[in-house]
Symmetry: C2
Subunit: 360 residues, 2 copies
């Protein structure tokens, strides 16, 4: 029983082998497929829990488990530390993922979850946008130009014929640096313009809000100047008290949470009564025609981050890792020849004689 470790370099090799665009396309499809499996009752996804604290700095570490019955258990651990970029030049979101075999509890894989989280957050927005945006949508507005904005643009460019993107960030340097960050994506025929918040909202067919707005300080977007058929991916709202969108918009729009039970605690759905909340992402994906008429009016994808998405991407990445021969095989679990001897692994290894002497 060995465990495959997919470190940063292994993930980079998988991306190199598959291609970043194809990987994004397949991530969008994999989340859609997981939604269909979930509708068949094969998934168990509890609402995530975590530690929230202000010592030594404001932070949140959460565990996000998902089980496909009889197939796999995926547990993502994810940290949200908004001071990281300034304090330690690290991303706000850091994450790692465990994949377990439910037949034995064996840890089959450990993989980086930082890239996975960025990828799937973009892909989930693209999946929702595919079903909710106006069919003629070409203009994108990004409110917040940090790490999440990169994958929002990348993912949406795969499902919409985008011609223009307008970008705003409360930090001008973050906004100014955005175009250089997405340049390697070679999004031909797309103009990227840095402007004011009102300028971003004006004329945008699709908006993505991905900010680190403080608790209770929302909304970050007002209900003025919005396109009548705007679709909004509200990505940054993922914590009790943190919201990005105005109540008036939510009340007019079809609001689709990724995971209803979580969105009512952490997402834009905190602001809504239960009856005012639309179908969840899986319901939408499983019956898109039933909601197609909403594409002519305002729609909101309330993206809090769904462990089902992490599950789908973890399976996709580890399957490619296997087929491409990436990843490092390690004997992580301490196993001896006799399953009833917890000290047996000491004998099985070269260190055993010393260990045995030390025990006497």
């Amino acid at each position: 029983m060995r465990t495959t470790l997919y470190a940063s370099e292994d993930i980079a090799r998988i991306v190199a082998g598959v291609g970043l665009n194809r990987l994004m396309d397949e991530t969008i499809d994999a989340i859609g497929a997981a939604c269909r499996d979930a509708a068949a009752g094969q998934f168990h996804v509890p609402v995530r829990a975590g530690f929230e604290y202000d010592t030594p700095r404001t932070g949140l570490v959460e565990w996000m488990p998902a089980m496909h019955l009889g197939e796999r258990i995926v547990i993502k651990v994810v940290g949200y530390h908004p001071h990281n970029p300034v304090v330690s030049a690290a991303p706000t979101i850091l994450s790692s993922v465990l994949v377990l075999d439910p037949a034995s509890g064996h840890l089959s894989s450990v993989l980086d979850g930082t890239f996975l989280t960025a990828l799937r957050t973009g892909a989930a927005s693209a999946l929702a946008t595919r079903h909710l945006a106006h069919p003629d949508a070409t203009r994108l507005g990004l409110v917040g130009a940090g790490a999440q904005a990169v994958t929002q643009l990348h993912a949406l460019s795969r499902v919409l014929p985008l011609t223009g993107v307008r970008v705003f960030d409360v930090d001008p340097a973050t906004a100014a640096g955005f175009a250089a960050r997405v340049a390697p994506l070679a999004l031909d025929g797309l103009t990227i313009e840095t402007t004011t918040l009102a300028g971003v909202v004006d004329g945008a067919h699709v908006l993505c809000t991905a900010t680190s707005v403080d608790l209770g300080a929302g909304p970050v977007v007002s209900d003025e100047g919005l396109h009548p058929a705007v679709h909004v991916n509200a990505v940054g709202s993922d914590f009790p008290g943190k919201t990005e969108l105005p109540l008036a918009l939510l009340e007019r729009a079809l609001v689709v949470p990724d995971f209803r039970a979580q969105a009512v605690r952490e997402g834009e759905c905190q602001q809504l009564a239960d009856a005012a909340i639309g179908p969840d992402l899986c319901e939408l994906v499983n019956a898109p025609d039933a909601f197609a008429h909403h594409r002519n009016g305002p729609t909101v994808f309330d993206s809090t981050g769904f462990a089902l998405e992490d599950y789908a991407v973890a399976v996709l990445l580890t399957r490619y890792g296997e087929s491409l021969g990436c990843g490092q095989s390690v004997a992580l679990e301490s196993l001896g020849a006799d399953p009833k001897n917890p000290y047996g692994f000491l004998d099985a290894l070269a260190a055993a004689p010393a260990a045995r002497r030390a025990a006497t």
Copy 2:
């Protein structure tokens, strides 16, 4: 930001460097020290949650988080799959542990939790036994002779002047193999005798129950023939509906749960009204004199498995790993030079040119 991986071989090197007896002694002390820190309000330990299922086989995978505020977050993932020894020659309990830095959410270590769990389960019983067993206790009875029994005996041998151990298991082969499994511990002057369940109970000053009894099939020990001042470590009761001890004993005894909120759901304390439950392990360790008079009567340690114990042992093992230079440093998290570019790590690695081509 790199992550240190402590695989099976690294753990074996740590044991070789420290000595198995000294490591057990320090584990017992480390759990005691964590109890003192917890009493000062510095720990956050939620009741564990998990997935329980019968497909593809009976199993349980749980996540057990613990945070020492401002210090570390430790999340153990542990599987309980009673068919493992027969089906896959693997232990019933398999586990792995993540250690995170709460300042940034960075994953500082990944380590095997299988040995850690065995070690700490023994150590917790030893800590409770030190404070609850009759001072003249020399005779130990083991009900269930599987993997947990090995560390129960080892740990108790460090805190009691044991002269004799009697062993019973529903599987005669498991009982018969026990002496060979503990032979490397070189427990001089200790007789190990395989006998009937009644024979194990008869005259034992300390009993350890560590069985895989089915839900609802308990108790495994009756209230007959027990020593008047018996101390029982009830180790196997760790699931709703699973109990090992008779209610009559629990009602007569001082019952000390490791973690009250969990024990009332999963442990022997399921059988008791709140007022019939004694101090928890931390309360006992912090005021042993207040409960010393109970050593002349029956006492029970209701050990469901406490994330605080895992935290203490994870810190102990990783500290030794660092000072002994064990462990493998890996760049697990996908980090580029710019924390606001989730694709930046693709440039930073050798695979970057291919990845960039693939993205266009």
